[in-house]
Amino acid sequence: MRPDDLKFQKSHEWCKVEGDTATIGISDYAVSHLSDLVFLDLPDVGSTVTAGESFGEIESVKAVSNLYSPVTGEVIESNADLGDNLEWLSEEPFGKAWMVKVKISATAPDLMDGAAYDAHCKAEG
């Protein structure tokens, strides 16, 4: 079940903003198109991420894809257990498969709500 309070990027990352903190992950649509996931590389706590730029990389069977941050800010938490439990991304992409938590200093200007994101996914095919 997808929570209603998420914002999405065209590159299929979601973020949930609570106060000055954004929790970031990738959508169920992205997970289904990546096929079988084998490796995840996330930024260290204390590093800085920038809206629209890559914050990590994920490998499915033989394909490496960049992950793009919806916000700018400092990484305050990284889901260290996710790399060894990539099946969580299929099971709960909006829950326990969150990737990083970021203390927000700026947000990407073109984030979409759930309905707009669904339309984007439909257009992408």
Partner: protein, 246 residues
């Protein structure tokens, strides 16, 4: 469409990255490796290859998957906007691999795509790309014949316009390389003479163009692509720190 002379490992990977980032039309590049080299998948550990001879040339690819010993092979890269391929990664491999099956059949090399309901292992079971074929791979009775890998990225230009891009790598073994004797090879079926190589180039270009609904025409790299390739070769693929990052 670009047909290059065999190049060194860092240059080869840098040119492909420049095409991924800058090419404005779908670009198929065919090339080879001189000197021969071992390319690691993006996430592999260099320490896992300590047993290879000291003079082995290594490079870390931008694409995923396992390591490949690039000897006498036909290597190709395809750099294009993602909308030219199915969004589902497995489906994109199927489309391209079926085209390559037809190209190989034209030159007398029978092979087929592995169809399997078996769940792939959670992690690659072997350090070598060619060791354990998985669903979708191209094989002959002798083993795996083609190594494939991708990098997918969303790139934004200075004007703020974004493109979803795909770099697809393919390594088609012509003659079995020394570090990976378990692979299949074109030479198992036909002798890879100069004429055969040219026929294979033509067949590959024609079949890939057909499935992508594109018209193939010879091209040259732009000055910007050349310039970026030189920079990326120097700073990334030819940089020991990049190779040893894992």
């Amino acid at each position: 469409m670009l047909v290059d002379e065999p190049g060194d490992a860092a240059h080869n990977m840098a040119v492909d990255t420049a095409l991924l980032e800058l090419a404005t039309t779908p670009t198929l590049r065919i090339y080879g490796w001189q000197p021969h080299a071992v390319s690691l998948g993006y996430f592999q550990k260099i320490a896992d290859f300590d047993d290879l001879p000291e003079d082995t040339v290594f490079v870390r690819r931008a694409t995923g998957g396992g390591a490949i010993h690039h000897g006498d092979e036909l290597t190709f890269s395809l750099a294009l906007d993602a909308h030219h391929l199915p969004g589902d990664i497995a489906a994109s491999y199927t489309l391209l691999h079926d085209a390559i099956v037809r190209a190989l059949a034209k030159v007398g090399v029978p092979c087929h795509r592995v169809k399997s309901d078996k769940q792939p292992a959670a992690r690659p079971s072997d350090r070598w790309c060619f060791k354990t074929p998985v669903a979708g791979d191209l094989v002959t009775d002798a083993g795996k014949l083609l190594g494939s890998a991708q990098r997918r990225a969303r790139l934004t230009n200075d004007a703020g316009e974004s493109r979803n891009r795909v770099l697809h790598h393919g390594s088609l073994v012509l003659t079995r390389p020394s570090h990976t004797p378990f692979v299949a090879a074109v030479a198992d079926h036909v002798t890879p003479t100069g004429d055969l190589r040219r026929e294979l180039h033509s067949a590959l270009i024609a079949e890939l163009a057909k499935v992508l609904a594109l018209e193939a025409r010879p091209d040259k790299r732009t000055r910007a692509e050349e310039s970026m390739a030189a920079k990326v070769s120097n700073e990334q693929f030819g940089n020991p720190a990049h190779l040893h990052r894992r």
